[in-house]
């Protein structure tokens, strides 16, 4: 060996030679690339489920939003607040005040059975009764079809996700709630947040239909600033008339999705791990046979004077290159097949459906390529070391 520069140029030539001869070994190359592409595609696809779900939760909580429920309730569904309590809460300091009053919306959260479009079976669709302030308490609410429901009228407005996933929620159809028939007058979007899974109507209408008298379940407020949260919370929790818990909107949504996210993540990673393991064995196999087929060629190079380590490194680079190509193809496949694939599932904690879309994020794509690189490196390491250690004379003689 005559110095690092020489070494690098050795690696350069051998690698170039190897890469240029790839077309001659189409079969083995295709097997490696397709195998890794398949694994990366499934990996990214499975992990995009959790990513999409987390995204919904993240968008749903604005930093200056807060939600108040009865103390001890682990979701809005099981909470209960009386009319007086709601009034006291709306008077608390820290809430943004407008000419029309404080930005506080006392709400009801129930579920209604509607069939899922994909399976035809019933699902627990969330139905929320709101007050006028609800539209300022939550950011990014826009009516995208039809119109908003009128206050005091038996009408509903449906979130974009809900309209897509459940049957009978198009503008103009009616949903049957016990004895009542409520027409759907509009569809709204919420920037992908949880509200898009819900059906909205006037809280008073819902109180009547579900026999709730004058009670509510939660109060959602918009604070002056994220910093006003602590004072707001302290005022309410120290009030002896109230028995409530106060959470930031973002904190609430994060907690609501904890268990489902955990389940999806555990299962996703377990599947991904097993697939990666299988892929490593597959890659090792393919690389070993690929290298074995080139034993004579490699022995010739070594007989010519190329160093052992140069051979090993260039074989590794070749393996890495193939793996990265496979990874990119797999990532692209996953993106095309899965990104924004819309679906819905049941959030155990809130007992209701949540609609979301699979999200193939840049981080996931990078993760996929990293996995591919690892598979390529491990898959190429042992075969290339073996190739470099064969005694030259016998290798030259091999068929």
């Amino acid at each position: 060996m005559a110095g690092p520069l020489n070494w690098i140029s050795q690696i350069g030539s051998v690698t170039k030679f190897g890469l240029l001869s790839l077309p001659q070994r189409r079969g083995a190359v295709a097997a490696t690339v397709i195998g890794i592409a398949g694994v990366v595609a499934v990996l990214v696809g499975v992990l995009s489920i959790a990513a999409g779900f987390r995204q919904v939760m993240k968008i749903s909580g604005s930093p200056d939003g807060a939600i108040v429920m009865r103390s001890g309730a682990d979701s809005e569904m099981v909470s209960g607040l009386g009319e007086n309590e709601v009034r006291v809460i709306a008077d608390a300091p820290g809430i943004t005040r407008t000419a029309k009053g404080p930005l506080a919306s006392a709400e009801l959260f129930v579920i209604i059975d509607l069939p899922k479009r994909s399976t035809g079976t019933d699902a627990n669709v969330p139905l929320r009764g709101v007050e006028p302030a609800a539209f300022q308490v939550r950011d990014h609410l826009n009516v995208i079809q039809g119109r908003m429901f009128e206050w005091g009228k038996d009408e509903v407005m449906v979130g974009r996700g809900a309209a897509q996933e459940f049957a009978g929620l198009d503008v103009g159809s009616t949903i049957k709630v016990g004895r009542y028939q409520w027409p759907v007058v509009g569809i709204f979007s919420a920037d992908g947040g949880a509200a898009e899974s819900e059906i909205w109507t006037d809280a008073k209408i819902l109180q009547d239909a579900y026999n709730r008298g004058n009670s509510f379940q939660s109060v959602s407020v918009k604070l002056n600033s994220p910093g006003a949260f602590q004072a707001f919370k302290d005022t309410l929790t120290s009030n002896p008339q109230l028995n409530v818990q106060v959470k930031r909107q973002s904190e609430y949504y994060e907690q609501q999705s904890e268990r489902l996210t955990l389940l999806i993540t555990i299962l996703g990673f377990a599947i991904a791990f097993l697939m990666a393991l299988g892929a490593i064995f597959g890659a090792l196999n393919t690389m070993y046979s690929a290298v074995a087929a080139r034993t004579r060629e490699i022995a010739t190079l070594r007989a010519l004077g190329f160093g052992r380590s140069a051979v090993v490194v260039s074989l590794l680079i070749e393996s890495l290159f193939l793996a990265l190509v496979g990874g990119v193809i797999g990532g692209a496949l996953a993106y095309v097949a899965f990104n924004n694939f819309h679906t819905s599932t049941m959030n155990f904690q809130s007992f209701s459906q949540i609609t979301f879309a699979f999200k193939v994020t840049p981080q996931l794509l990078i993760q996929g390529i990293v996995w591919a690189a690892i598979i390529g490196l491990i898959g190429g390491l042992f075969p290339s070391i073996r190739a470099a250690r064969l005694p030259i004379a016998s290798a030259l003689r091999e068929l």
Binding site: A73, T121, A270, L274, F281, G282, N285
Partner: protein, 385 residues
């Protein structure tokens, strides 16, 4: 069978290659087992649902309650044997992560309508004698180390007692087991009379009813009759067979079966490539030998059979080891998942399907190389020795 030795030796030629292929197949079948367990956990309950049971819930929304007075009316409907109710308690034991179901029930009727719940008679007597008594399934009892006689505090998220206290205390008077492997032994059941008297709100109202019908083939008709009985009441009902109810609940989670099938297809397709490649190479390398075999009198069919047997032996070995490992690992993974998926195990059905798949895999990967081997012309093959 006499050729088994020949096939085995062929596999052992390139030990590294064979072992790596074997390892890929093993991993694929571990994944298969794992996905089968997930599928069983989420939709398996359907198969175990009682064919002679109907579930009755409030029509508009499952969270709405039904009057307890409906029970008597239901019992009088033709085709109904008897009915009983349960309600969602929504309790937390120490930490929300420790989730398991706790429902108030009518003890005698409950045990009668659920014969898959096995409770020793003396424990049943104790339950009937203790108002605050509760029976708990073996899985939950083992998870928290509960024994008969323990007092368990559970904080309900929904129901407060008359004094405003959300925490209810129950005495464990019995531990039940499930008849089948798939019977859920995580829930805790306590007495409705204690619950109804002590609760602050919602007295006289229950969550849902389970009806046992006299003739399972009449399920649809009886269901219609039940709904007709309560039509135009303040609380209308929706009645369906227990299997349909569970299926609907599982479908809420998503089209699990489809997702699992999609992942498995992708995995097996990839394995196919790897194994097929291996087999193709194995045959290519042995062209000369195959020529010799044909020259000494092996028929085409025998050569094809030899190659297929080799690939099948490989895949079946890998399949059995993989399924065996999946069977061994599943109980270990079930522990951390206990709060999320109460039932996590590998059903026997999946093992049979897996075995069948391994044979199919062997046949598919071996067929092209086998046909190639068959079409070899003896003279050409011998020249390539």
């Amino acid at each position: 069978m006499k050729f088994l030795h020949l096939i085995w030796c062929n596999l052992r030629r390139k030990k590294l290659r064979t072992s790596l292929t074997l390892l890929s197949i093993i991993v694929a079948f571990i994944l298969f087992g794992f996905l089968a367990a997930i599928q069983e956990a989420l939709v398996g309950g359907v198969a175990l649902a009682g064919a002679d049971r109907l579930i009755v819930r409030e029509k508009v929304s499952i969270i709405n309650l039904l009057p307890v007075s409906y029970e008597a009316r239901m019992d009088r409907i033709p085709g109904v044997d008897f009915s009983t109710h349960q309600t969602w308690f929504g309790g937390i034991y120490q930490d929300p992560k420790n989730f398991f179901m706790q429902n108030p029930v009518e003890p005698e009727k409950f045990l009668k309508i659920h014969p898959e719940i096995i409770l020793p008679p003396d424990e049943e007597k104790a339950w009937l004698a203790t108002r605050t008594g509760a029976i708990v399934g073996r899985r939950t009892a083992e998870r928290f180390g509960w024994k008969i006689g323990d007092k368990i505090p559970i904080r309900s998220t929904i129901w407060a007692q008359a004094n405003g206290n959300l925490t209810w205390t129950f005495d464990i008077v019995g531990i039940y087991d499930g008849k089948d492997k798939g019977t859920d032994t995580t829930p805790l059941f306590f007495r409705y009379d204690y619950y109804d008297e002590a609760r602050q709100q919602g007295k006289g109202q229950v969550g849902w009813y389970t009806i046992r019908i006299k003739d399972p083939s009449q399920a649809a008709e009886v269901a219609k009759r039940v709904d007709a009985e309560f039509e135009n009441s303040p609380a209308e009902t929706k009645t369906e067979p227990e299997g349909a109810f569970i299926q609907g609940w599982a479908s809420q989670l998503g089209n699990i079966v489809l997702i699992v099938a999609a992942i498995l297809s992708a995995v097996f397709f990839t394995i196919l490539l790897v194994t097929g490649n291996t087999m193709a190479q194995a045959v290519r390398e042995r062209t000369g030998e195959l020529g010799v075999l044909k020259a000494i009198g092996f028929t085409n069919a025998q050569v094809v059979a030899l190659v297929l047997a080799e690939s099948c032996l490989l895949t079946v070995m890998g399949g059995m080891v993989g399924l065996g490992l999946a069977l061994a690992i599943t109980p270990i993974i079930a522990q951390p998942l206990a709060g999320l998926l109460p039932l996590f195990y590998l059903p026997a059905r999946a093992l049979l399907i897996g075995f069948g798949l391994s044979i199919a895999l062997g046949l598919v990967t071996g067929i092209f190389p086998a046909l190639q081997a068959m079409r070899l012309r003896v003279a050409d093959a011998l020249r390539r020795m």
